[in-house]
């Protein structure tokens, strides 16, 4: 069966040409990379920007007067400005570079959470990645905070209206994911933020799975903290962004101590630099930030709304075709989803599925997706997950379906 003609202006072949890794075979089959929620591939623009930096400009930043140090510093700060533009933050000082989403949330839990008292509450949702659960549990162990959970229904939609009932005068923060990595659900974060703000409670949004798919405006959302990982946004691993409202960042103590985050140091006492430097102790991932800037500029050259529409067509097509596979159940059927589909097939463990479809060139993720509470909620030990980017094709979905059929032929 061939993909139906789609009415789309998206030139996927032109986009694919920008991603050199995609043009390869795996086990003798064309690679169908459908594991974009785990990490995305990198366009030439990003690879070249990193290579250029190491070939021409490499130096440490904020601490040299020589030409290379100045160039490196300018490039690093230009990356901060690109991230500001990307999220539409008011000021580049609201952009803290971190290793990724995980570090961003740990930073907030450690620093913003430093003043939480026993009995203070943090509210998360039922569909969080472990990165937005465990840092709060560590804080719970340190200070005795209470962790509360916004529940979800069988389709993977949050009961957002429950948030108001969960909030008490002791609630210090709501921390929710924008898009679920395990289910694809797009959460109504603007609505959640409005509810929390009515009660004077700030909100952290885990944007790791949102920014690769949709434009995000932190001012329009009125998010207090927003974070994402570069590697899920066509950039290198080891770089990510924590956005924080200036007044919040300014009120927060340092996260780690070291060089670059201080104003003065003596053995009696040190004073700290203002944000964002206060939260960037030590030499950062300079090349990573430069790669992130190149990725943001690459995205700015694309028609992002057309990309989003195209991804939604991929999602619709994948959902339709998957449902034709006997015994296949889709896990997560929210009306608003990013291009992510989790599923199980009766009689085949996801781990076996992953091994078999790999032999047909198809890369998907199998396992608990670092969201064990979600697996428990749906009563499955694991799922298989296909997750798409704007460089994926309808033919790759056909390749996936074909590989799933072969897995059934072999195992069921």
């Amino acid at each position: 069966m061939n993909a139906p003609q789609r009415v789309t202006t998206w030139d996927v072949e032109a986009v694919r040409a920008d991603f050199p890794i995609l043009a390869q075979t795996v086990h003798g089959k064309p690679l169908a990379y459908l594991d974009n929620a785990a990490t995305t591939q990198k366009p030439n623009a990003v690879i070249d920007a990193i290579a250029h930096f190491y070939r021409h400009d490499n130096a440490n930043i904020h601490r040299g007067v020589h030409a290379l140090a100045e160039r490196a510093t300018i490039a690093y700060e230009a990356a901060r400005e690109a991230a500001r533009r990307f999220l539409n933050a008011r000021s580049a000082n609201e952009i803290v570079f971190v290793r990724g989403t995980t570090e961003a949330i740990n930073l907030v839990a450690t620093s913003f959470g430093a003043r939480f008292q026993p009995g203070d509450e943090v509210i998360v949702s039922a569909m969080e990645h472990h990165a937005n659960i465990v840092p709060w549990q560590l804080l719970q162990a340190r200070t005795g905070i209470v962790l509360k959970v916004i529940p979800m229904d069988e389709s993977g939609v949050l009961y957002s209206e429950e948030l108001a009932a969960l909030i008490t005068p002791r609630t210090r923060l709501v921390a929710v994911t924008h898009v679920s990595n395990a289910l694809g659900t797009i959460n109504p974060v603007a609505e959640l933020i409005a509810i929390a703000h009515q009660h004077g409670v700030p909100v952290l949004v885990d944007g790791a799975q949102a920014v690769p798919h949709m434009p995000v405006d932190v001012q329009a959302l009125d998010a207090d903290f927003y974070c994402f990982s570069g590697h899920k946004l066509f950039s290198p691993t080891g770089i990510g962004v924590l956005y924080g409202k200036a007044e919040l960042l300014e009120s927060m103590p340092p996260y780690q101590g070291g060089g670059d985050m201080i104003r003065t140091v003596s053995f009696e006492k040190s004073t700290f630099a203002p944000p964002p430097q206060r939260f960037e102790a030590g030499t950062p991932h300079i090349a990573g930030a430069i790669g992130l800037k190149a990725a943001i500029e690459y995205l700015e050259r694309l028609d992002r709304l057309a990309a989003l529409r195209y991804e939604q067509e991929l999602l619709t097509y994948a959902t339709e075709r998957l449902q034709t596979v006997p015994g296949l159940k889709i896990v997560g059927s929210a009306p608003e989803k990013a291009a992510v589909v989790s599923f199980t097939i009766d009689g085949i463990h996801p781990h076996d599925l992953g091994t078999i479809v790999d032999r047909y060139g198809v890369a998907i993720r199998v396992g608990h997706h670092c969201a064990m509470p979600v697996m428990t909620f749906f009563g499955v030990p694991a799922t298989a997950r296909a997750s798409f980017a704007f460089y994926n094709t309808f033919a790759e979905i056909d390749q996936l379906i074909d590989a799933l059929q072969r897995a059934r032929d072999l195992l069921v």
């Binding site: 076996d352 091994t355 078999i356 030990p381 072999l410």
Partner: protein
């Protein structure tokens, strides 16, 4: 392609996946150990009944992929009636078969268990095949050893 996959998913493995042997709880087990593979969420509970230095009964329950289920099922078949020393020797051979980087034992010498040798070409799947054997290792060790193990 097909052939390579068939080397991993041989008929014997598929048969044990579909109809696992000794798949039951054991009320009078002398030792019960939980095995868990956090990577894929596989878990199994292995029951061993020892009498006078001999394994008189062995069974398992749990949830896992074809490879770990077949491995557990084959383990129970192979172990029943063996002395503890024989079981330990077999365990050693299986660890070698599945994980030794060079000169692994000849799969043919291990009888039915030899079919598991196919996982050697699938490094990410070795843990699946190993899970029941690691669990057995804990079950055979002295009684104050942990009653839960993890492959990570």
């Amino acid at each position: 392609m097909e052939q390579e996959l068939r080397d991993l998913y041989q008929e014997l493995i598929l048969d044990h996946k579909r109809r696992p042997r000794n798949f039951r709880e054991m009320a009078d087990a002398t030792r019960t150990v939980e095995g868990h593979n956090p990577l894929c969420g596989d878990h199994l509970r292995l029951f061993v009944k020892r009498e006078a230095g001999r394994i008189v009964d062995v069974s398992f329950v749990g949830e896992g992929c074809a490879i770990s289920t077949a491995s557990a099922s084959l383990l129970t078949e192979a172990l029943k009636g063996k002395t503890v020393e024989e079981a330990e020797a077999l365990l050693g051979q299986m660890v070698e078969l599945l994980t030794a980087s060079e000169a692994p034992p000849d799969p043919m010498a291990l009888g039915k268990l030899g079919v598991l040798a196919g996982v050697r070409d699938y490094p990410s799947r070795v843990k699946c095949a190993m899970l029941p054997w690691r669990t057995l290792e804990a079950a055979l060790s002295n009684d104050d050893a942990p009653t839960a193990i993890s492959t990570e």
